[in-house]
Amino acid sequence: MLPQQLVNGVLLGATYALFALGFTLMFGVLRVINLTYGFYFTAGAFVAWFVTRAGGGLWLALPAAALASGVIAVVVDALLLTRLRRARADELASLMVTLGAVLALYAALAALLGPDIRRLPPAVLGNEAISLDGVRVTQAQLLILGASVVLAGGLVWLVRFSRLGLAIRAVAENPDAAGLMGIDTARVAALVSFVSGTLAGAGGVLIGLAFNAIHPYMGEAMMLRGFVVVILGGLGDIFGALVAGLLLGVIEVLTAGYLASGLKEAVAFAILVLVLWTRPAGLFGRPVARRV
């Protein structure tokens, strides 16, 4: 039973990590608590649903969904947050604006398409499990695990080693100074929104596929775990989000499997509190001076 439970935990954790990657980028780099992130996740899943219904395969649906979510993220960010950034509003302002927006977006989507759970056509990706030595995994789950590791690696490379990443870090460090150095801060913000939107969209497709359930509120359900993972991993720490996601998944599954299923959340969130007590900057965070 233990090997299967560990695999269950890693796969569940991979879904948390995949969801949290784009969120941590937005949260940590742009210093914006953008709750509309959950909506991009939902939107991606729905785009994929429409594409596959129209006969497209997963290899068309996945990029289409990612691209569409990225564009939605840029538009939403421009509409909601440009003014706030210009006015130098604090994190609380972005939290409130995006909270209102995301509730409106979920409700609009539910009114438009109905709140029913939809499934991707079974032909999109076989749901049959692969059995290895008694341990069972599905293709969708493997895809999620692979995608979260690859995407985390890609993001780390983008932020740490590319020219764009340098610009992103500069903007994160000090937007005014970055602007004075000739960095187009609005363009960087739009690009970061686009990248995290595409990540959310791709996550929505893969997770919708793995659990076979697409509905307007699916992003909302993931948001709480998303927060935990981002905080545990350290704000903006991409590698930290990956590790924290996997850790959370394994802890939840082991608690449910060996302790009591009712304690799953309690143990997971108790660990969050413990980590915040002992390491307020997250598991891998270095203490940073608070910006004024």
Binding site: A107, A110, I117, R119, F211, A213, A260, S261, G262, K264
Partner: protein, 370 residues
């Protein structure tokens, strides 16, 4: 068209019998509180459809009942708000709803305190009518339905069972308690009890644990969405036909087949109503429902449909919109509808469980379990 005429005739007869002709009076306004948005809107939508179909038929000869519909959104606060608006602004004389037992436990004390008769059509948890003397229910409590399902399981050779339930929802939790005592009463050995959250999508830890214990059956008490999720994941984890899945009332929805597809095949569930019941009243209802909505009714629509007729008869008995008189009318209910003969017992619950049928999922739809 012919079927529609039969329905109309039947409805007209019922109305003629139930309501003395006083068409010049203002209609009595009643409220419906149902979940029309959010993840559980499927239940509320079905209930609304059933009520509105019955309303058309009650009102064929002049408008006797006017209906105001309020959305609870599936939350306790939403249900309380909806009831306050219906009572305060719309001055309703009676309320049908809310949809979930959870909501009723929050809203019931409010409507009961205001002396407004409140009839749950889908609130099957234990203790609903203990809220107060104005709280009724037409839904057969799970305590009456689940023992019938367990008997069927035992007749198929089931000796051991694992139980799963959603621990954040009154309906699922009370269904679980009923399942637990019904399983014990039927002589089954309960190997383990696992819980989950009703919005969870991952059940792998619990299912892996259950699989290692090799029970003959797995009983699941939850709403249809999480039940579908459990079944889909159970198949991925290698549960086959050797395990009998037993659903509570939440599994009794055609949505189970739509969401879970072949993964749901073989699940059995007890139902107070079934679309294939051959009696003429039921067939007329199904035909009228299809004609109006272009889809099949479910149990929730059927219960809601009967409930409006029961309320209409009570209003006719009261002769006016006085809630106290309507309550007395409800207590005297003696009505035969699509669910079979109906009366309230002394505690304002349905008096008998004779209509229960055990259904089995087969190829994505229900059939009467062999």
């Amino acid at each position: 068209m012919r079927r529609r005429d039969v329905t109309r005739a039947l409805a007209a007869l019922t109305v003629a019998a139930a309501l003395p002709a006083r068409a010049q009076d203002a209609p009595v306004r009643v409220g419906l509180v149902a979940i029309l948005s959010g993840p559980n809107a499927a239940y509320g939508t079905a209930i609304r459809a059933g009520v509105e179909l019955a309303l058309d038929q009650v009102n064929t000869k002049g408008k006797r009942i006017a209906l105001t519909v309020a959305d609870s959104g599936g939350t306790k606060d939403g249900a309380i708000n909806a009831a306050r608006i219906l009572i305060g602004r719309d001055k309703v004389a009676a309320i049908i709803g809310p949809t979930l037992s959870n909501e009723m436990f929050a809203m019931g004390p409010v409507t009961n305190g205001r002396g407004i008769p409140t009839i749950g059509t889908s609130t099957t948890a234990n203790g609903i009518t203990d809220i107060g003397p104005f709280i009724f229910r037409t839904a057969l409590p799970e305590a009456d339905v689940i023992p019938v399902t367990m008997k069927k399981a035992v007749s198929r050779g089931v000796k051991t069972i694992a139980l799963m339930y959603a621990n954040d929802d009154a309906f699922s939790k009370s269904g679980f308690e009923v399942m637990q005592s019904a399983a014990t009463a039927a002589g089954l050995k309960i190997l383990t009890t696992e819980s989950f959250g009703s919005k969870d999508t991952d059940f792998s830890a619990q299912l892996t644990k259950i699989k290692a214990l090799k029970p003959d059956a797995v009983g699941i008490s939850a709403l249809v969405e999480p039940v579908s999720g459990v079944l889909l994941q159970a198949r991925q984890l290698g549960f086959g036909t050797e395990t009998l899945f037993i659903g509570g009332n939440g599994s009794n929805s055609p949505k189970l087949g739509q969401i879970a597809g072949a993964a749901a095949d073989g699940l059995i569930v007890g139902s107070p109503w079934f679309i294939g019941k051959p009696d003429p009243a039921n067939q007329a209802f199904v035909a009228a429902f299809r004609a109006k909505y272009n889809r099949d009714p479910d149990q929730f629509a059927a219960q809601a449909y009967d409930t409006l007729f029961i309320l209409a008869a009570a209003i006719a008995h009261a002769g006016n919109a006085d809630p106290e008189r309507i309550r007395n009318g409800l207590l005297r209910t003696d009505y035969t509808g699509v669910m079979g003969p109906f009366r309230f017992d002394a505690k304002r619950n349905p008096a008998s469980a004779e209509g229960v049928v055990v259904l089995e999922m087969h190829g994505g739809t229900f059939r009467i379990a062999p």
